[in-house]
């Protein structure tokens, strides 16, 4: 069992390492991730949302729907705990 796990883990790790070869270097300012979508968040956040903290503006506005989902996840967890551990009473 452990040997299989080790093989699987190494396989996954090896694949991931193999993938990194073609990646942009760490912290490369010209990587596609820094050039394609994100510049607008950085440049327009104040103009478009009047929020200087880009993370907040992206979190709550540009990708506000994700955050709604996130809150729902939290809510789900809360209800799940109630269902699992508390349901008997009440």
């Amino acid at each position: 069992m452990k040997a299989i796990a080790l093989i699987v883990v190494c396989l996954a790790g090896g694949l991931l390492v193999y993938g990194t070869v073609d990646m942009p270097d760490w912290g490369d300012p010209t990587s596609p991730a820094s050039l394609h979508v994100s510049p607008r968040y950085i440049e327009k956040t104040v103009d478009e949302t009047a929020v200087p903290n880009m993370v907040t503006s992206v979190l709550a506005d540009y990708r506000g729907y994700d955050t709604l989902g996130e809150t729902t996840v939290i809510f789900t967890a809360g209800i799940a705990c109630l269902l699992l551990l508390r349901g008997m009473k009440k």
Binding site: S34, E43, P52, I74
Partner: protein, 123 residues
């Protein structure tokens, strides 16, 4: 060439080794709590990976100082991965909470947290 590769990528490799540790703990450890820790390590390493996608050399934290007029995209770190990872952390902690609740249930039922013992008990 190889040196450049190593300098440029070593961070990723460390994340990946972290990921492997977590992954290994998830599938090979017999203790359920250890599995859970592995799960968390796995998730945090992914978060680490995402955060490092956003990092930019020579850029600062993604909060605009007051009074700054012109904003260049390469002045600030890419905020998008941060946002995504905030969500991922939340997911992580939610999963963690539910998992602990499950573990509690399991422990109440079997009075052990070892996978093999539980499997024996169930048989």
């Amino acid at each position: 060439m190889t040196i450049e590769l190593i300098i440029g990528k070593y961070n990723y490799w460390i994340y990946i080794s972290l990921m492997m540790i977590g992954f290994y703990a998830m599938i090979a450890k017999k203790n359920l709590v250890k599995k859970l820790i592995g799960m968390n390590i796995f998730q945090t390493s992914i978060i680490l990976f995402f955060i490092s996608i956003g990092s930019k050399k020579g850029a600062t934290i993604p909060i605009v100082e007051e009074g700054v007029k012109t904003i260049q995209a390469n002045q600030y770190i890419n905020p998008l991965p941060h946002v995504l990872m905030l969500t991922a952390i939340v997911v992580m902690v939610s999963t963690f909470g539910v998992a602990l609740a499950l573990l509690l249930l399991i422990y109440r039922k079997y009075h052990t947290l070892e996978e093999d013992e539980i499997l024996n008990l169930r048989r």
